[in-house]
Structures are given as C-alpha cells and as structure tokens.
Symmetry: C2
Subunit: 368 residues, 2 copies
DNA sequence: ATGAAAGCGCTAACAT
DNA sequence: ATGTTAGCGCTTTCAT
C-alpha cells in the first residue's frame, strides 16, 4: 500500500555501503511467518512503532497509525505470543486443571471459565488429572512452564511436593486458585471458589432426617481420590452420629456410575428386613439415578419407603421423570467467579475480602 | 550439592579482571524464576549441557548427568516454554476450538483429546466459539499466535477470511484438522475426523420409514450456526422427498433445549388430526427428551402412534426410563482419533490414506 | 512521537 | 561429549 521499501536501513534514501555482506547469511532462519519486522519495513517505521501501535500505547501519530494499519493488513501479521511473553514476562494464558473434562459439572465449570476468560482476552490451557494427585502434579509442572497468568486447580488436596511448587508460583507472581472446595481454615491469601463439602454432607443428612427417615446410608464414589465426595460422606456420617442416628457408608463398585448405583442398591436392598424407611444420600447423581432405577424395578415406593438424595443436579437428574432430589451446585458460576478473581488480580484490584468465594449448594427438592 | 560457584565466568578459577563493572547492571532483570543458567552454574557446566540433558539428546557423560541432575534438584528448575518454543520454533501446544464446552458430546471430545494428548506430552489450549463463526475466527487468530503444533476446529464451515488464515497456518507447518464433520469432496490433504451429517439425516429418515410411520417431521436446532444439525435436517428431508413421502421441518424455539422440545411438540401435536402415526427426528437428544415428556403428558403411545428419534446418545437419553432411540456418536473417540492424527503428523508418519477418519454414527434402537 | 540498543531464556549450528 | 556463538521475535529502557 504505502510504498513498501525493501530494507529499513535504506529508508532515508541513503543506501548503506556493503562493507559486510548485505544478508549476514544468518545460520538460523525464521520459521516462515510474518514478523513485526516485516510489518515495520512495509510501513516504513521501526518495530517499536508497530509494537506500540498494536498494544495501543497511545503516542502514535495518526498519520503513522494509518501506515502501520495498512502494513498490518497487507502482510497479514499474526503476533508471536511466545516472543511477546518472553520479552514482557507476562502471558495471557490461564492454566486450568480439572479431574475430568467430561463430567457435566466440570464441563460446566470449564464453559463458564472459558467464556469469561475469552471475554477478557485470556486463553485457557486445560489439563485433566483423571482424579489422580500424581497426574495432577505432573500437569501442574507442565503448565507452570508457560508462566501462566493464573493457575486454577480443583480441590485443596494435592501431593506433598506440590505445595512448594505452588508457593514458588505465587512468589513469581502467578496466582493459584483452588475451586470446587472451600475451607474456613485456609490462609487469608488463599484463593478459593467453592464450598465446604463436609457442610454439604451435613445438609444432606439434615434433609433426610427432616423428612422423617429412620435409617441412613451414604453411597460413596468408588474413585479413590475423589476427596470431595469422601468429605461429603464424612460430613453426612458425623452429622447423623451426632444426632444419635444409625448411618452406614457404602462404597459403590467401580465402573459406569449408573450401573454401579443399580448394583449397590440391589445388594443393599437384598439385606434389608421387610418394611424399610430409609434415606440414602449419594456421592453424585449418576449413582442416585442407578439406585432409583433399581428401586423402581424392585417396586419400592420412593418418597415413602425410600428417600433418595443425589448430588450435582446433572441434566440426567434434572429431567429424569418426576425428578430426583439433589444438591445443586452451579458449576458454570464457579468458573465465572474464578475468572472474575483472576481478572481482578490482573488489574491489581484484589482486596483480601473477596479472595474466597463461597458458592453455596442449593437443595432441590423433587419427587424422591 | 556440587560446589556451586557464583559466576560461570569464574568457573575455571580465573577471576575475570573487572575492566567494566562486574554486574553490567543490565537494564532488564529476569522474572525471578530459576533459569537454565542457574542450573548450569550449580552443576559447573554450560547451559547447553543442561539443555541437552533435559531433552535427553544422549551424548551426556554419566558423571556430568549426575551433577546436572543434582543441580536440577536443588534449584527446582522449571523450564520456560516460551523461550524454548521461540528458540526451537516448535511448541507442544495443540489448539482446539469447539462450539461449546458444556454440551456432553464436546465435553467427551475434549476429554478424549486431552487424555491422548497428555499421554504424548502435548498440552491443550481450548477455546469456544459459542456456535458463532465470527467468534470462531477471533479465537483462531488468538490461538494461532502460539504457533501451535496443531489446530483442531469443529466443522468444515468457517468465515470467509478464515480459509486464508488456515492456509497460512498449514504453510508454516501447523496442521489443521476439522472434526465432527466429514466431506467426501474435501481436498485429499484435508484432515477430517467425523461423519457426513447429510448421511446421518438420511439414516434417521430411513429408520423411521422402516418402522412404518406415515408422516415425518424433523425438529431442527434453533442455533443459527449449528450447521451440522441443519445438514442432518436437509439429509432427512431430501431422503423422504426422494421416497415420495411428506416431511415437515420445524425449527425449535430458542432457550433450554428440553423445554423447547416440549413446546415445539405440544404446538405441533395440537394441529394434528386424531389418529396420528408419525416419525419425528430431532437435531439432538435434548429436544427429543422434551418432546417425549410432552407426549407422555398428552398420553400419546410412543412406539405405536409416535416414533421419536434423537441424536447424540447423551447420558440423559441413555438412562431415560425405557430409553430414547437415537443416533450414537462416540465423541471421545473423535477426540482420540484427532490426537492420533496429530501425533502421526508430528512423527512425520502421516500417510495420505489416514488423513480422513470416518466415525460412523450408530443407530441405537430403544423404546421409542 | 519515534528510534536504538539490549536482552528475555532458550536452542540450532558450528566448533572443538 | 561439551562449549561457543548467534539468534528466535518481541518488549523494556533509555535517548532523541
């Protein structure tokens, strides 16, 4: 567009005498992409001017801006983020580690996080720990190499060595957030967006007690390192024991959760004496749905003889005929709140009070 | 551990005469993190040796390796990926763009992709287009800045300007894959992992015809840029027209899909004459479940008067009492296959024949 | 308002 | 098997 010259050194019309070979025959060639330098040459300015223009650091003459804009257009420049991040020491990447990306609660969380981060011009590097603290540590190490603008973890339980890693990350300016969990005892500078799973278990117990059941069972997840589910189970048990009630904790078999729920319920039911009047809470809605299926097959009257209480309010539970009672947590909101905290941190507006967001579970009372 | 010296220049025991200030008082300080140089100084070697050790480029003396390992340990080094990528022109990041991260099919896909990529030491940068080609373009531009090892898109429909972008990406060595779609007319070097949505619509139509229904309806998604759903609808309609059958295409109202299914079915049903015998196919399972709910409320006998056929085999549809007939696509497999293609490409083992993977939908015949 | 120089932390290429 | 040198493409810092 605007008289593209071939070499920036000849811009003033004074060709440089070729004392040394014009092309230094660099031993290393670029990777073929258009660079800032290419744009600068086209625009007849230096790379700094283009760089300033791109980051709108003001102080660009309108005339120059036009030339740069044209050069940007004709060259089709794409900024090299690695170079930019390396030079500035900042990156627009937020690293997120979840136990699983296909479970609807985490999918919702990623959705909320992603949408909010994108709106703020941040990108999301996602890894899954597969509910293994060992894999979590590995993934933390891997993502930390990108010097992310923030690190978002799921839960507050990590492997021994990880604490030092996180401390190091915080020290070098990378905020670390723990989501889907919440602990009153946490350090005041800790960043948490979630809820107390023991209290959630307590709430489940109280709900079933209020509905007048006599016996209680908690069906726990078979996933060894799903600590949050186990904590809900403990909260459930402790609450009932404190009330002088009997409560049993059964770990579901491994494999497909709905099927596991069916199996574990059938086995449990076979051992019961005739008239039952029992409240059963589950580590998640999948298990609960399975149990409900089994109960229907055994012709157990649901709200009367049996009170089922799921966890998560998965779409399956929500739309299931009649509806399963459950504890609803807004996973998308957890994601959004994390993104808010991160943005506040990047703007340096993070007051101590808002570093912890308590996302309360909501009891959804339905047919069961 | 091994006699850490303070400056690499004094390693040979010969202190450099301070002609110029010892510390050049660099105008730029590092970002506080441990660098390769720190490790090298601790180990008493150069950065290259440490770099080689880390990438196990063989040719390291066992003795040296021990020193380096110790230095790595004591310093707690984390590699700076931006620097590494910039220098090598390679990155271990794969960029993925999906329409939505919370829909179970895409959540499954991300899960499959993530697991396979992680196993290969690749990381995943995820963005969502929110079913908007405009946002898709924006996200493509954003992720391309990281010079990803591969770019994975959803669908083969993109905005006008995007083709040039993708061509440019391919030219600079970034393979571009399109998933969840498949087109026989695609260029032979195109990389696709998915299926032909018109044929899927055809399959849906044939299924309902075989079951003996007389009238046919396709309930399409209200999402304007869900091109794949629309293509299924077109395949459905065209097949029926070719068979000389009547078929109606109705676009569901916006909002929650289950509710939309209920509404659209109720409205349609109100207009029908008494004895109906109709096959209805849906753009997705959510709509189908909503319709089924409405049908139950209206007491329409399901397999007899009404044949409902969903799409996706979402958990909701799978476990729904009795079960909804649907077309099942293995989203996780799509993700895994993409990861396989990417790895093959990185190993330079990509033969022309395997660049396109056709993931066939499977008809799941259930109660409806 | 723009430019020149230096260097972010690492690796490719060329010694030795 | 290890070291030296010269960048990768950008931004910081300082000068004009």
């Amino acid at each position: 567009m605007t008289n593209p010259s071939q070499r920036s050194t000849s811009l003033k019309g004074i060709p440089i005498p070729d004392e040394k070979p014009v092309v230094p025959s660099s031993r290393r060639k670029g990777h073929g992409r258009v660079t800032l330098r290419d744009v600068a040459i086209h625009a007849g300015v230096t790379t700094m001017t283009v760089s300033r223009y791109l980051r709108s650091s003001a102080k660009i003459a309108p005339e120059t801006a036009l030339k740069v804009a044209a050069a940007l257009q004709t060259t089709g420049y794409t900024p090299n983020m690695q170079a930019g991040s390396l030079a500035s020491g900042r990156s627009r990447i937020v690293a997120v580690i979840v136990p699983n990306m296909s479970h609807s609660i985490f999918a919702d969380t990623l959705h909320g996080l992603g949408q909010s981060l994108q709106a703020a011009g941040l990108q999301m590097l996602v890894a899954s720990s597969d509910y293994s603290l060992q894999q979590e540590e590995q993934q933390i190490r891997a993502v930390l190499g990108w010097a992310p603008a923030a690190l978002v973890l799921t839960g507050r339980h990590h492997r021994a060595g990880v604490d030092a890693l996180l401390q190091q990350a915080r020290a070098s300016g990378t905020p670390v957030m723990e989501m889907w969990d919440w602990n009153a005892q946490a350090a005041p500078d800790a960043m948490q967006v979630g809820f107390d799973h023991r209290r959630a278990g307590e709430l489940m117990a109280q709900t079933l007690v209020q509905r007048g059941y006599q016996d209680f069972v908690f069906i726990d997840s078979s996933v060894r390192e799903d600590f949050r589910a186990h904590e809900r189970g403990m909260g459930f048990q402790n609450t009932l024991f404190a009330l002088g009630q009997r409560s049993e904790l059964i770990v579901a078999p491994e494999g497909d959760a709905v099927q596991a729920g069916q199996v574990v319920f059938s086995e449990w039911f076979a051992k019961q004496a005739a008239p039952i009047h029992c409240g059963i809470a589950f580590a998640n809605d999948m298990l609960a749905v399975g149990a409900w299926k089994a109960a229907q097959m055994q012709c157990v009257a649901c709200p009367d003889q049996l009170g089922l209480l799921g966890f998560g309010d998965f779409p399956l539970a929500r739309h299931w005929g009649g509806g399963l009672s459950t504890l609803r947590i807004d996973g998308e909101r957890i994601g959004r709140e994390c993104a808010q905290l991160i943005q506040a941190h990047l703007r340096d507006e993070l007051s101590a009070e808002v570093r912890q967001v308590n996302v309360m579970p909501e009891l959804v009372y339905r047919a069961t």
